[in-house]
Amino acid sequence: MSAPQHAAREVRPRPPQAPEDDGAGGGGPGMRAPQHAAREVGPRPPQASEGDGAGGGGDCVARLRNELDRICAAASELDAYRTEPRQMPSGVVGKYGYLRLGFRKEADGRSVLYDIDRRVPFLVQKGLYWDEGMPHMPCVFIITTTGCLLQGDRMALEIRVGENAVGHVATQSATRVHMMDANYAAQLQSIIVEPGGYLEYMPDPLIPHRTSRFLSDTAVSIAESGSLIYSEVLLPGRKYHHEDERFGFDLYSSHIHAVRRETGEKLFAEKCLLEPRVSDVLQTGVMNGFDVFGVVVLLTQPDKARRVRDCIGADVDLQGRLAYGATVLPGECGLSFKVLGDASETVRAKIRQFWSVARETITGCPLPEEFLWR
């Protein structure tokens, strides 16, 4: 699809108040005041009522911050990195990002992004309907106004997809985790998918610069009839920038875990821990000499998971420099699809192919062509 057509799609009737500058843009203490800093309602404002979000904004922010603090305190892999930066202390205003997104299905069949709450450095503007394969789906770009993650940053993200609603969340560009000489950066992602809900959360790759430390915790609560596609791509660093930057980071820790929404039953957990300075991540059986690692977690119903698995296949091609394969998660609750390659492009292309198959299988809708500028 050509660029101008997509751009045209974004020009829709705007809601009464442009929410871009509300509340969260600043960095001072005042930014905490607006509880629902921006309440975006899609092309036709459906009068979202104030009370039906994920709860009071301040409560949510505090709850998630406490949870992230608890996770960081309990993570023994961070023990070597608890010193405070000489610059701004860790986790203060401006270094504690918060973002809440709520998707809901409207009576006319379209879904809307009806709930946004945000704290700098997270920024979200509005749900746009750029996806021509699913024109009823609001798509959201998460913007990080600081452009990167720095030592002492804490980021908390909450996404809730209501009954039978659909939503797509992406980032504007790669997430760079800058060099660190103290502390670490951490993020908590809480994703809730209600019955019949469908969420695509496909952030751009993560680029950990040398000596960086990054911890991520992704907690999913998903209904039996809900579906989620979530991807992570990890680059080895800026490998053409500096000789020490191919896996020159200190720590990358990513914990993804899911529970069943109805019962609280634990579905699966995977904690990836990379400490390239401690053990050789390029070793046989680990990265096996590949530079780029991608993983997609697909949570859906067992029959759909099996269909996607059978369609996508699995292969290790050492000459063609690509390896990929999907395994069925415990209880057949979905798939874990892993990809290894030498470049971000090949890995992301494979992930896109998986995403396309998964979307078609789950929703019956096609994935439109990639934007030319992506």
Binding site: A74, S76, E77, S253, H255, K266, L267, F268, A269, E270, K271, C272, L273, L274, S279, V281, Q283, T284, G285, V286, M287, N288, F290, F293, V295, G313, A314, D315, V316, L318, A323, Y324, G325, A326, T327, V328, L329, P330, S336, K338, V339, L340
Partner: protein, 255 residues
Amino acid sequence: MNTAGVLSAPREESAAPAAAPAGHDRACGVLALARMLEFGDSMLPVGAFAFSGALESAVQKGVVHDADTLRDFTSTALEQAARGDAVGLACVMRAAVADDRAALERADREIYCRKLSEEARLMSVRMGRKLAEMCVEATGPEAMTPWLEGIRAGRTPGTYPATLGVLFAGLGLSPDQALTTHQYGVATTILNAALRLMRVTHLDTQRILFLLIRDFERQCAHAASAAPEDMCGYAPMTDILAAVHVRAHVRLFMS
């Protein structure tokens, strides 16, 4: 005898109690050592010979093609086991010694829900169940009877590390002994499969085993001290090879 799972079986005076901290077990007696050999032996009828831990597809795809790559592949499997299954095994032993059935089953489920490959899950629960059945049928201790009942009733998945933990706690063996047996089993399963899958000699595999056993002390010390939430891993190529194996046309092994 205590039927709930702790210290119920033949215990000799010299064997350290299972609750003893790591290091105390050096004074263990001949019986404890012999029990360790018995349950760590690759001829133990739990079906380990049917699994290759993704080595079969690693050989087919050229990831493992000589003794050096086999050594690295086995080393990766041991490191993964030490940071994952073995941490769970140590938790199970603590729960079994404390006679805390709920904690025991919780640890078993934690091990199970971290097995993201269907073949790895199958291997773990099949060998776990076989081990429990063999103990109930042939060896004891009595703690294995309620454990097998739990598996049969679907109360607990019965993974291999968890079952091994219940067994060793029941025999009064130490966590170090259980962890060593576990790591030894991981290595020999892959190396025995290698003899049937690729061109390596018995001398090659013995050389590799001798070399890799040097890491056991560090691996077991980590597993014994880690908390259950520390269970982790990172071996994407092994995971992909497991996915390749599920779809392979020609298969000698079940994983």
